[in-house]
């Protein structure tokens, strides 16, 4: 834990754009790649992605995280409501997916305090994702 705290102190925790703290375009692409890997390993969440074009998903989610973290991108994918319509994403599955994202961030050595800031900007999407 101390090592992680120290890691959190070494990077600018609150200063600068979240986009930069995530490692910019390259860092976000790697994170999304790892997130897709975690989804593929999860029996509960994987079925939601069986029909998904993963290359496109990788590209659009990277774009979206880039935009919400203050980077120079515009998300060009479908709205959250449209892309989750009739998927019946439950609150539990949503939270499980958040746990997978946290696992991916841990695997990519993203500092705890940067993780929380990304979760904070993604959290408002929840109401457009669950029970659509």
């Amino acid at each position: 834990m101390l090592a992680l705290l120290a890691a959190g102190c070494a990077t600018p925790g609150t200063r600068g754009a979240l986009y930069d703290d995530l490692g910019g375009q390259a860092g976000i692409e790697k994170l999304v790649g790892r997130f897709i890997f975690e989804i593929g390993n999860d029996a509960l969440i994987r079925p939601y992605f069986e029909e998904t074009d993963l290359d496109r998903f990788h590209e659009k989610l990277t774009e979206q995280i880039c935009e919400v973290s203050g980077g120079p991108c515009r998300y060009s994918g479908d709205s959250m409501v449209d892309s989750h319509r009739n998927m019946g994403v439950t609150e539990a599955h949503f939270n499980q997916t958040v746990d997978l994202l946290i696992r991916a961030m841990e695997a990519e050595d993203i500092p705890h305090r940067v993780q929380n800031r990304l979760l904070a900007v993604l959290a408002p999407l929840r109401e457009d994702i669950i029970y659509q």
Binding site: M1, L4, L5, G8, G13, T14, L44, T90, E91, A92, N95, Q96, V98, D99, I102, P111, H112, R113, V114, N116, R117, L119, A120, A123, R126, E127
Partner: protein, 281 residues
Amino acid sequence: MRKWKKSWALGLLLLPDLCQAADGKLLATPGVSQVEGSAGGGLVPWAMLAGYASRDEVSASAFATRVSVDDYRLEVWGAAFNWQDRVELSAAHQNFTLKQSGDEIRQNVYGLKVRLYGDVVYSTWPQLSLGLQHKRLKDPAIAEAVGADRTDHDTEFYLAASKLHLGALAGYNLLWNVTLRSSRSNQLGLLGYGGDEESSRELLGEASLAVLLHRQWALGYEYRMKPDNLGFAEEDDWSDFFIAYFPSKSFNVTAAYADLGSIAGEDDQKGLYLSMTGYLW
């Protein structure tokens, strides 16, 4: 035997479902167990319901707590059930020991909590819950001797608001809770309800503040106002500093330094609070 085997096999089949059944929240966000059995901090009931159940799930948990201050020891154990993140039922048994004489006072607390609004992490406004704690005093002799108004049972009500702010404190998650309780319980009810100086309920404020240092660690402070109904001795507000560790969604342990003030004429009651909660599914 055959029948037993069959039900055991069925149990095993159901187990994976049940294990997965209550995983629907971020680690540490349901809090821990408070001294009267409700989900909360150590002293204060929070708006969160016990366990990791989301709105499609159920969850059950059990806890044990021990607070040892200079002249007294409080041991509590109990269980809580969470139905679809809407209703929490809890039961707790308190055993309060006077260290010098060895006398014991036992009380049972039955709790009901209903989530009225929101999600502690995701909703714009704080999660809001309404709760009650029905207290039944098993050993009324001391309560009678010190002038309590009622010594059999009483029910108190509370309204709790809790909110976790993601990354709000320099990137750390910040959690706050405010609870308003209507009570006349003397020292949780262990010394009865109401007294010679005041027999009616009053509104009391309780508050908690915690910082999540990492996913698995929370550091915080709690304050709980208390009534002061008995003429024979002062009753003080309670407070504690706590650190809680959440190794997984199955288990957490909390250590705190509690300041319980003056209890039944003995001043400056301070000491260690230890508590653990296990989530069965």
